[in-house]
Symmetry: C2
Amino acid sequence: MKPTASYPTITRQEQKLFTRQKLLDTTIDIISAEGMTGLTLAKVAERAGLSRGICNFHFQTKEQLMLEAFKTLYREHEQAWRAILEDERRSPEERLNLFIRTLLTPPLADPRKLAVWLAFWGVAPHRQTYIDLCTEGDCQYEQAIEELLRQLSPGQQEINGLSLKTIAVWLTAMIDGIHLQYLIAPGRLTPDDAIRACQAFLGSYFQLSEKEPDGT
Amino acid sequence: MKPTASYPTITRQEQKLFTRQKLLDTTIDIISAEGMTGLTLAKVAERAGLSRGICNFHFQTKEQLMLEAFKTLYREHEQAWRAILEDERRSPEERLNLFIRTLLTPPLADPRKLAVWLAFWGVAPHRQTYIDLCTEGDCQYEQAIEELLRQLSPGQQEINGLSLKTIAVWLTAMIDGIHLQYLIAPGRLTPDDAIRACQAFLGSYFQLSEKEPDGT
DNA sequence: TTTTTAGCTGTACAATTGTTCAGTGAACCG
DNA sequence: CGGTTCACTGAACAATTGTACAGCTAAAAA
């Protein structure tokens, strides 16, 4: 199959970037559907409609391809939470609520995407590079949450003797745990319930107005 | 290598069970060290000091071997929490504290073991058999926690409008999330901190006496 | 003892793996 | 236009994969 010869001819540079991205997308799709053990360079190439050696051409090695796919995932995630946490137009409380809701409901928290995260995490403990990536990404993530919590409780550095950083770490742990539950025990925990769990957890440290979208 | 010819000769039946268990242990060791992608029947056989076809002989297929290893893991885990949660000699509060501490500190919560859990979970979403196993195991687990919470708040079916079951699910989500943090961001969350997180979380629903082992 | 049984060996096999690389043809540029 | 560049091809590679199975040997049974 040849490069899609569209009307306004695509430059070679664009074509390369386009193919590269397609390979990354395909990689994530396969992992999502079949898990880490189902990922094969041949499969990626075939599914992308390209030739066998294409992955090595773009990424040299399979390891590199996986790492790059992982980075893509992290970038998407970062973009999502930044858009919410750092949105100055909303009140801190609004942001926190929206943040929780966004992370615990589709499209961010859909089984397909979560499966990829889990698959990568399952590999991460055995590769320092992955751990480094996680550490770096999660650090900024938690700092952003901490910052939001700080805005939520102006002046105070501690709540009930706990630093805001600690509470931020706890919240991320809780969110990750809920994601795991979604995957491992589908249906056990409804998104609404999960949101309530986080709000209840935070409610014991901050005064949050119960926001009911609609009354019964 | 021949079967270890000990002094009191081992029966054929015992030998078979022994070998079978050794293969399962080796499987878990390899997954722990290299992840799911590092698991190979040849490697298992070699590391166990046995011949190539041994895994197929005992488990027919690789899939079966993995499933059986997963079951072993679940059994160990179940044994651990049952010993604590159902220990009638301790007060409910003691049991809850011990339960949390046990699940969040070594030897149960050591990186080696957690890595295996994570590796299996990473595969689970793609095999119904695994999910079924998880669902079954987790159900009993959560029911046991719920029962303990019930003993902790006698008479009440709800707390702050939340069912005890809901709180039990939340607690397991929190514990899983902490386990994930241990692996993905080692050192970020200390066991002491993690224990405090759970206690703080539960503290907003139950009256628990802060148990300080030693004062500074 | 002799015969039977069965746990295990180790070779063999087809399939698949990640990776290499000379070749190709279209985009690029002077 | 004509020469160069380069994204991509696809056959070939050695290595490794899961699995099958005839044969061996020591335990069990007769």
